[in-house]
Amino acid sequence: MTRSRSPVLLIAALLTPALIGLVVFRLYPIALAANDSFFNVLRGQPVFVGLDNYVALLTDSVFWNSLKVTFWFNLLINPIQIALALGLALLYVQNFKGVTLYRVLFLIPIGVSLPTAVLIWRIMLSQDGLVNGVIGIAGVPAQPWLTSEALALYSIIAIATWKGISYWMIFIIGGLQNISPEIYDAARIDGIKPWQRLVYITIPLLRPTLLFVLVADVSINFLLFAPIFMLTQGGPADSTNVLMYEAYKSGFIFGDMGRAMAVIVVVVAILLVIVGLQFKLLSGRREAKR
């Protein structure tokens, strides 16, 4: 009789630390943010303003521009990162001459901390930096990578991608190694072409891994802050002013916590919708097939 009771207790005991962590570090801050978004501070006193902070966002052109930048940034960076990480992972599991060197090279970015990477890139992308020097050899004039409205966002995408893909690559390698070699053997006997192997075998069987990478990558990129804070402060002309930076500026530079928290709640809501859609689309289709 005791045996039937123990799993419940055991499960509860094992889950408790994680649940406490979830509540303390995730749910509580979100609740706090949601609560603060209903207040404004006037003369040092918090004043309840209801939905005013959200209503104000509706007509706030800075907010809408920031939302647009955030979506555009994510529409580009997530597919790019995942496609590149998948490509790198496929190369990583191959056996060819020099593969060890290749593997080491692509693991380096994981070991470099983000601020360090950002600082190095800042120097390399400066007017007289390495990147302009290299393209100068090819006769291309020096480009204002981080200081022009047309290039800054893409430079940040490139830096974040350089830093991020190796990390995602590791997960995809794990997924690839889980695919049974017998399936490939069977496919080879059937005379399948390499591209068919990728589209019909590898990617469908990688779906659970790709779902995880997609969700985690989108969340991280939606909340990306450090490179923007360190390189462009949202400029030039607001071209890199993502919602996270806008919220930071509102709260910590302008002392307008009510607006900052309203922006944060909007970010969390958007993220929830996107992650929900991803789960539905990716896992739903798999179930339908089965």
């Binding site: 204002p144 949202g234 307008d256």
Partner: protein, 438 residues
Amino acid sequence: MKIIQTAIAAGLVASMLAGTALAQDKTLNMIVIEGGDTTAMQAVADAYKAAHPGVTINLQPYPFAQFFQVAELRLRSKDAGIDLVYVDAPLVASYASRGFLSPFDASVDTSTLVTSALDAGKYEGNQFALPINNSAQVLFFNKTLFANAGITPPDGLTAGETASQAQVDELAATKRWTWEQVADAAQKLTVKDGGRTTTYGFTVEQFGELYQLQPFGESLGTDVIGPDGYTAKGYLDSEAWTKAATYWANLYNEWGVSPKSLGYGEAAQLFGNGQLAMMAGGTWNLPGLEASGVDFGVAPYPYFEGGKVVTPTGSWYVGVNAASGNQAEAVDFAKYLTTSAEGTKTWFDSLQQLPTYKPLLDEISTAAAFDSFPQDVFRLGVYDSLNTAKARPVTAAYGQLQDAFRTAFVDIANGVAVKDALASAVQKFEAAAARVAP
């Protein structure tokens, strides 16, 4: 998150330190900026402790880049772990309007302080912060680069010469260069080698900062924002500011005489290396430039032809945290720091910043120790602070103004059209300011 963690950790350490102090002793905690300011404040704190046994001033230094956020967070959370706060002049209104600071009462004798500096520490008639020192900006020029290019440098103070206050006054009143002269010389002094600039003609020390650039438009006759503190339309986008911003745009794009996106301290480095012919910067650069060995002179801060002479001013203040449990002791140290002969002298000797304490200003004007270069540069500071200095606007939305202004001027240097950048700054400032306007 890092910053919040740092702030919490610092708060914990501070409260532990406060807790371990002996019962009869008082420890006052003060947040300051790391570096020279902390060294100077420690010197004053030591002198204070010698005169007031039983009271210890414990400094909590933060890097400049983090200081404002830490101060904002700790003051907002009514953190009793700090008693005294280092306050940047334009933030006085923002802090005071939110009840962060205790006002100083009539028991503090402020008659020995420069009036304009005192005024910048007031909000709605109350003195919320006391000025620790003032600041003055000048035009540094590299004599060797001017000589090599065969150009006559501006009249100014240089090594090997002495200057009385009267001579400095005359220099500042009649021989001040215009920005047009600066641009003209800068174009001749800039050296380009295959697309790369090896010598820049001119730069401002603080890239895109309101402190440094406020005189640009105001020299042409229009304030940066209206007297209510929340209106920028008709001010920042006026004809005067458009002209000033166009000059700024030309420095970077049309003429290409200034380096883009200089970080903190990078202008002084370029100047010290001999790669920059002219720099509009603070007198605080003097010790560093002396040490660099570059042969330089110091001229008054320029103005626009046909305009008025306006120079940057204002610096750091001290305030008492409203949440502090040691109000009387904190006020006493603030008084010592700003209105006593010993406190102000200790500070000046350590940091070499233009004082706001009048007896010390008199000493600079008259004492023989200030006759020779580079000490005579402080006499230029004395002239400007009494005649041409214009404080930054008093507004509870100063952070918003500073950010909108910086964004606009950085964007303009990077090639965004002047009209668009100014219009966007006006719109952004007014929208953000309206949210904190009373």
